[in-house]
């Protein structure tokens, strides 16, 4: 059974169809690329999966459980982490606090735990390990807004990893990065995948798609027009 199944998902915005009857699955421990021109509905698809905008029709199931229409926080706590096309770390929070926010999902149930201190030594160590994991080994007290773009993207991944995700949704991880920066980021994505995290990747840069993705889904005008092996989808 696939980790994530998308079945006949349609999203309409005031009569404009952003996604039409899109179906595909994400297998456990694969890297799936979602490609297509601007306005093809790729980010809308991510927003439907993560609950930011519920789909108009269709079902989305994660590990056999229907999740469409659930709140974003509920979906995040199931272990679906994401990054944003335009990076969105919490700019005035420190790198550490950015990661701690996502780490907190384990602590919120129950008022007593929600009231406990969040910046304990143990939690700081977990946050430091996650930041180091993505290559941010120092300056954890800095405000996230002061980081250059490439590091903000890494911070977003560290933040998503704090959710202990089984599935990572990465929205254009290489966008706006120099060649070697995006290569390093891809190495990180491959490593995470090898550790068992499934990845869905929205990408424009074809060499990157070819280099990293095991399988591709091609969207155009909200419709899935192809699916399969990267070399054949081309």
């Amino acid at each position: 059974m696939p980790l994530l199944t998308i079945e006949s998902v349609t999203k309409e915005f005031d009569g404009v169809i952003a996604l039409q009857d899109v179906s595909f699955g994400v297998e456990a421990s694969e890297i799936l690329g979602v490609i297509g021109p601007n306005g093809a509905g790729k980010t809308t698809l991510f927003n439907c999966i993560t609950g930011i905008i519920p789909p108009t029709r269709g079902t989305i199931s994660y590990r056999g459980e229907a999740i469409q229409g659930r709140q974003p926080y509920q979906i995040a706590r199931l272990g679906i982490g994401r990054t944003f096309q335009v990076v969105r770390p919490f700019p005035n929070l420190s790198l550490r606090d950015n990661v701690l926010v996502a780490l907190g999902h384990r602590h919120y149930p129950g008022l007593r735990r929600a009231l406990s201190a969040c910046r304990t030594d143990a939690n700081r160590r977990i946050a430091a390990a996650l930041l180091t994991r993505v290559g941010l080994s120092s300056g954890h007290d800095r405000a996230a807004g002061t980081l250059p773009l490439g590091l903000k993207k890494r911070l977003e991944i560290a933040r998503a990893l704090a959710l202990e995700p089984r599935l990572l949704l990465l929205d254009e991880p290489s966008g706006g990065l120099r060649h070697e920066e995006s290569q390093q980021l891809l190495d990180l994505i491959r490593d995470l995948n090898r550790e068992g995290i499934s990845v869905v990747l929205i990408e424009h840069n074809m060499p990157i798609v070819m280099g990293v993705c095991h399988r591709l889904v091609v969207l155009d005008h909200g419709v899935k027009i192809a699916e399969g092996d990267p070399y054949r989808a081309r």
Partner: protein
Amino acid sequence: MLSGYLVTVLTTIGIYIILALSLNIITGYAGQISLGHAAFMGIGAYASALLYTKTGLGFWPAFVLAGLVAGLVGAVLAVPCLRVRDDFLAITTMGINFVIEAVFLYIPFFGAGMGIGGINPPALFGTELGKPAFLGLVLLVIVLTIAADRWLARSWIGLGWAAIREDEQAAGAMGIDVVRFKVLAFTLGSAGAGLAGSLYAHFLTFIMPVNFSFGQSIVILSMVVFGGIGTLRGPIVGAIVLGALPEISRPAMEYRTLLYGVLLLLLMRFQPDGILGDGSLIVRWWRRLARSGSNVKPTNDDCKLTNDRTG
């Protein structure tokens, strides 16, 4: 001993400190602008006054119930506020203030335009608290408010609020239950305002709807913004400075709203973080001073460690 006048001024400032700190939870920590904080102060004041004058309940239970009632109403009114953001939230909360003031003003049960009188100061062991003792009570409530504030700011709840303030959608995607956290902020902030309102009612012994008008909300918000929104020190210093100003000079009293307006404009232009916010001149200057001071000390490591802990 302090003169009676000074005690009165200090008590008023003290009540403003509680109001500013409670608004800071909603607007500073959780980032939800509220232009209706005085309404919740009013709910606390009226709840306390009615319980005291109509049911014969003593001050202490009335004080606690005033906080609970204001918190409960805050939780209920947070629900329509969840549907709006930013400017629209400001207008919604402003509307809530007008409606609640109108309820006090037009419904005879609440004393209508006459307000409610005959609210005695609290008594302890059968003796009524004098003004200095009442000031002591206000200070005690301030200390408890600060302690609660510190606790919340260090907890997962405080961090969740900060994330919502920064980016609501990203906070949701990181597992934060945005709705529950916002309602919690409105509930706790309103409860704090309710407690302050109860103190206010038993201090003045007489309350009228105009005490809890939109103008009062603006005064409280000015204090928070002036001092430095989102910090603990900011609202306290803002309440002290803006609360003392009208007492120091008569013209400042008469042109109070004008003065606050001009101050806010100047702050937005030159010190958008408030005089003691994290990005303000004074705080940056203080940090630089602290850093240059620490360099000459032999225990540089200690300093690094403590800096680290405040992060």
